[in-house]
């Protein structure tokens, strides 16, 4: 345990924890999008998918607790590192210049904390049914369980909700754009040939994931996916 704690406390250990938990969360974002794309194939597909997840029972809780642990570790380590970074320069410069750092890299703490707020809202909205209980309460005909299709489509018929989701996808894009390529460097992967490739791939993956999520919400708003009655 001391070994693990010392590793977590060290500067590079902290970075490695950020990289590994970040990579796992990135994997979750991919799986989340792939699952939700079934919305495009109509109510039966997405509702059956939701029921399948719910029927996992204890396994679902293993996944949820695991995900929560990864998430908490990512946020807690991020906060610890950024506090140490603030302390490392107590007196700021009168004149500051930025030479080559990207906007995305400089706003990781800001985009990260914004995403944290968004995820809390997202869970209250769709998982716990607190913010829009009338959408959450809809039951599926026949099969039983939640009518996920109806819940999602009625929510995304509301332009204000869609706007909030789309704005946060932009935030997610910036967080992933720096995060994906950053984890390669942190895990010791740096090569003149591959770095350029990794940076382009990082941009592309961030755009596809954030764009894919945004398209789901927008396609309901613009009637491409029909809202349930």
């Amino acid at each position: 345990m001391t070994w693990l704690f010392q590793f977590w406390r060290s500067s590079i250990g902290g970075k490695v924890i950020m990289a590994i938990t970040g990579f796992l969360l990135f994997g979750f974002v991919i799986a989340h999008l792939l699952g939700n794309l079934q919305l495009l194939s109509g109510p039966d597909k997405i509702n059956a998918y939701a029921k399948m997840l719910h029927d996992l029972g204890p396994l679902l809780w293993v996944a949820r607790i695991g995900l929560l642990a990864i998430f908490v570790l990512h946020v807690a380590t991020g906060i610890r590192l950024s506090r140490a970074n603030k302390a490392a320069r107590p007196v700021p410069y009168a004149r500051e210049a930025t030479l080559q750092a990207t906007f995305a890299s400089r706003s990781m703490v800001l985009t990260g904390l914004s995403l944290l707020a968004f995820i809390v809202y997202h869970l209250l909205h769709f998982t716990l049914g607190v913010t829009n209980p009338e959408h959450y309460a809809r039951k599926a005909a026949g099969a039983g369980g939640h009518d996920v299709y109806a819940m999602v489509t009625t929510s995304f018929s509301n332009p204000a909700i869609v706007a909030a989701y789309v704005v946060f996808q932009v935030v997610l894009f910036f967080h992933l754009k720096h995060g994906i390529q950053s984890l390669a460097q942190t895990l010791g992967l740096s090569h003149r040939r591959f770095m350029a490739m990794i940076q382009k791939l990082s941009f592309l993956l961030a755009a596809v994931l954030a764009g894919g999520n945004a398209i789901l919400a927008l396609s309901v708003l613009f009637g491409i996916v029909k809202a349930a009655q």
């Binding site: 070994w3 590793f7 406390r9 060290s10 500067s11 590079i12 250990g13 902290g14 970075k15 490695v16 590192l81 140490a84 970074n85 302390a87 490392a88 320069r89 107590p90 007196v91 700021p92 410069y93 009168a94 004149r95 500051e96 210049a97 930025t98 030479l99 080559q100 750092a101 990207t102 890299s105 400089r106 990781m108 720096h178 390529q181 950053s182 460097q185 942190t186 895990l187 010791g188 992967l189 740096s190 090569h191 003149r192």
Partner: protein, 265 residues
Amino acid sequence: MKVVLHIWRQSKKSTQQNFAQDGKMVRYELDHVSADMSFLEMLDVLNEQLTKKGEEPVAFDHDCREGICGSCGVMIDGQPHGPQRGTTTCQLHMRSFKDGAEIYIEPWRAAAFPVVRDLVVDRASFDRVVQSGAFISVNTGAAQDANAIPVPKPDADKAFDAATCIGCGACVAACKNASAMLFVGAKVSHFVHLPQGRVERELRAKNLVAAMDKEGFGNCTNQYECEAACPKEIPVRVIADMNREYLRSKIKEEPPSNKRVGGDG
């Protein structure tokens, strides 16, 4: 040419504890500056004028004035060593500035680099990091034949890129987090690509990182400002080298043994 300088000056009553904060940016106008002067020569002219007026000259570090000692780093308009890439302050010339330019000159700002006076900071934290393992601890004896230990050219190049570090601290000054990882990465990379350096690689990575953390430098967030500011243009590849070496050393680390050392005697 004429320049307007804004320089961080210590207040007279500064104590050792509050040097970093206790001062202010003071404005100086300097006329008849030659475009062929180096930046430090321009400061020399300013200091001569200040001395003639009976004022305290601006304290700044300098030594070789040929770009190899690493003493002369100051922050110029928010950029370590000024606007020209791959150049130390002493090798920067006034032709890099426009006539009438307003130039802001500040000391490196980092908790691990306490301000001594005006533009001079104490970089002993770098020395302590080097003392923790940036060397090879074998008795080398007499110099052996250059070709006795073959080193592939690409490896020699990687080691040499890292070895060009002059320890000026521009990487720490430029980093948004005041992290020293380019410097420490250069020390790791300098040795790990060579057969002689590989013998102690685990111990070196572990000790260097521990010493760096102890000094209170920040953490790298892969923004690569250091690489752009480094007067020797050391690539951020050395940070990846260090990350890899540190991970390797942590994975290979043996748990402490329960065996009694020295037997029963």
